[in-house]
């Protein structure tokens, strides 16, 4: 029981102080609450209605006609692009999120503590946060540095590319697909570096929060650095690891470069409202499902400190 007065207060109803606290609590969150209902909850429900109907515009007004699951059937049975794109997004998440997690943890471990130039390096590593959210980086990648390997079917655009990899085919007689793979791993890695800004910040904050005394105790017991990592650092920051994983998943799904996001945008610009919302709804449910699943699985391994 968090309630200090315990049982009796509960039986007697709430005290005056509690009532006052309740009122103030509501007052503080009231502006947000109005917005959350007006600009989030209501539109969400409306978009659920759109997804089940056919929307037609005539003159100034919109008309809805209930069509049941037609839109959903169309998405899954007729549209040839949706499912592959969705699979693509999911696959991206599956391979990117672990790499992002390990990478940002590594960087956080290197950046922790004080040493010469630590402010400079921290500033540099947080720098992607400023730019990566913008369209500038996407444009730079896709239109200026169009440097994907030519043999892949879908030209992927990378921030970096190592042209020498293509040369490997000729020199060592490596099969083309292996070169492609090496290309995508190496070049994709730099992309991932760029997506890890916020994650590094989150993990660094968490790592710096661990009290040095636990490491000192481990030192006295003769623990190696590896043991300290797995027995102290990782358990202590496990709540943040969950946050990082979920943030990365959402970030990857809502990225400007994501194919489904592009589809949703294109359809809504072509005034194909109901279809756009249907895709949006399915997509969002998928994300929610994935996040829930991750939360469920990882929740078992998380250790919250008792504060």
């Amino acid at each position: 029981m968090k309630n200090r007065t315990g049982g009796p207060a509960r039986r007697l109803g709430r005290t005056a102080a509690q009532k006052r606290s309740e009122r103030w609590g509501w007052l503080f969150i009231l502006p947000w609450f109005i917005g959350a209902v007006g600009f989030f909850l209501v539109p969400m429900l409306q978009s659920a209605v759109y997804a089940f109907s056919k929307v037609s515009m005539n003159g100034g007004g919109t008309q809805y006609q209930f069509v049941g699951l037609d839109n959903f059937l169309y998405v899954f049975t007729v549209d040839a692009n949706f499912l592959p794109n969705l699979a693509d997004s999911l696959l991206n998440v599956v391979y990117q999120v672990p790499v992002i997690l390990v990478f940002s943890l590594l960087i956080a471990m290197v950046l922790r503590g004080r040493y010469r130039g630590h402010t400079f390096f921290r500033a540099v590593f947080f720098f992607p946060v400023i730019i990566a959210s913008g369209v500038a980086i996407t444009i730079l990648r896709e239109q200026v540095m169009m440097t994907g390997s030519a043999t892949t079917e879908q030209q992927q655009a990378y921030m970096f590319s190592l042209p020498s990899f293509d040369g490997l085919t000729e020199v060592f007689g490596m099969p083309g697909f292996m070169v492609d793979f090496a290309n995508s791993v190496v070049n994709g890695f730099f992309d991932i570096t760029w997506k890890s800004g916020v994650q590094i910040i989150l993990l660094l904050a968490a790592v710096n929060h661990i009290s040095p005394s636990s490491y000192e105790a481990a030192d006295i017991e003769g623990a190696t650095a590896w043991e300290k990592l797995w027995k102290i650092t990782v358990p202590m920051i496990s709540p943040t690891i969950l946050v990082v994983v979920i943030y990365s998943i959402i970030d990857s799904f809502t990225d400007y470069g994501n194919k489904i996001m592009r589809m949703i945008e294109e359809y809504s610009q072509n005034i194909n409202y109901e279809y756009s919302t249907t895709i949006g709804l399915i997509y969002f449910l998928t994300v929610l499902l994935l996040v829930g699943l991750v939360n469920l699985i990882m929740g078992r391994f998380i250790q919250y400190s008792t504060d």
Binding site: K2, S21, F28, G35, F125, V135, A136, L140, V291
Partner: protein, 316 residues
């Protein structure tokens, strides 16, 4: 009285101790060396896009034709920059962006601070449910309910007005408001309770406690939220392209820069062929000038920003 055996054993111990310290020093030097090399290498990766933009944005046509010019332009040229500024309609677009961004950021900050404090320190019925709603607003992207939102704003007559963004920000649904509320909640929860208790005993009401005690102590965190918020509003492309028409903020203009360049009527006094070769430089310049205000802001705010984040205690 030391026996020879005792003497020998102390000598051995001393020798071993020295070897240990030598080993320690070597491993220490190696660690520092490795860390430095690693950090410098990674810094290059992080800064690469900016270096790239600076390098390719100022090349003259002569340098673009010349394959031996890789990083440093031989003939410095401002022409791509001029074209980019002209096609982007830079000055008026930045003005538009500022008019949209700054009030929104400030309004958003107020609401977000209030809500963060409300969630952190008060107990009220339905709080858990509301907190769930908050998490929902973070997870669900605006794209999945944009159309009803559009229709509603249209019926309110707010389309193509800055007021639309102000209203959204004021009512806690600005860009990424949910994330900030979450961050601030974690921050306020980590503040010691004693401060507020003392204030209450001295007769401060909750609002006064909040403005006089909590806010002054939340300085770095407020700076952090401000920087994030400015960045995300400035970089916003999706909402602006939805809700504005006619004249757009700078990031929307940037997305159409490439297609505008194909239409050579947009640029006066340049042959189509030359324009094609300069396309890359112009785009790099466009990207550079779009993020330039953010870069300047970051350089100045960097210290508060990183400190605030590290102290925010965003630990789940």
């Amino acid at each position: 009285m030391k026996s020879p055996a005792g003497f020998i054993s102390t000598a051995v111990a001393a020798y071993q101790k020295r070897r240990l310290t030598v080993n320690y020093t070597i491993s220490r030097v190696l660690t520092v060396l490795l860390r430095t090399v690693f950090l410098i290498g990674m810094s290059f990766v992080m800064l690469y896009p900016v270096i790239f933009m600076l390098s390719s944005g100022f090349k003259s046509l002569q340098d673009i034709y010349d394959p031996t010019v890789v990083w440093l332009p031989q003939h410095f040229s401002l022409e791509p920059m001029e074209i980019a500024l002209e096609v982007l309609d830079y000055v008026s677009a930045v003005g538009k962006t500022l008019k949209m961004t700054i009030p929104s950021v400030l309004l958003q900050l107020i609401t977000v601070l209030l809500a963060g404090y409300g969630f952190a320190r008060f107990r009220f019925r339905g709080k858990k449910l509301l907190f769930g709603l908050l998490i929902f607003t973070i997870i669900v992207p605006v794209q999945s309910y944009i159309i009803p939102l559009y229709v509603n704003f249209k019926s309110l007559g707010l389309l193509n007005k800055d007021l639309l963004f102000y209203v959204q920000a004021l009512f806690g649904m600005g860009i990424r408001s949910g994330l900030y509320i979450f961050m601030l909640r974690q921050f306020f929860r980590n503040m010691p309770l004693e401060l507020e208790e003392a204030a209450m005993i001295d007769g401060c009401g909750p609002m006064r406690t909040f403005t006089r005690i909590m806010l002054p102590n939340a300085g770095p965190m407020i700076a952090t939220v401000l920087v994030f918020s400015l960045v995300w509003y400035w970089n916003d492309y999706y909402l602006s392209s939805m809700f504005y028409n006619g004249s757009f903020p700078i990031s929307v203009n940037l997305t159409s820069l490439s297609s505008l360049l194909k239409n050579s009527n947009m640029v006066s006094g340049i042959a189509e062929q030359e324009l094609m070769f300069m396309r890359e430089s112009i785009l790099a310049c466009g990207c550079l000038v779009t993020i330039l205000p953010l870069l300047v802001l970051y350089i100045f705010a960097q210290r508060f920003f990183t400190e605030g984040l590290e102290r925010s205690g965003i630990v789940g």
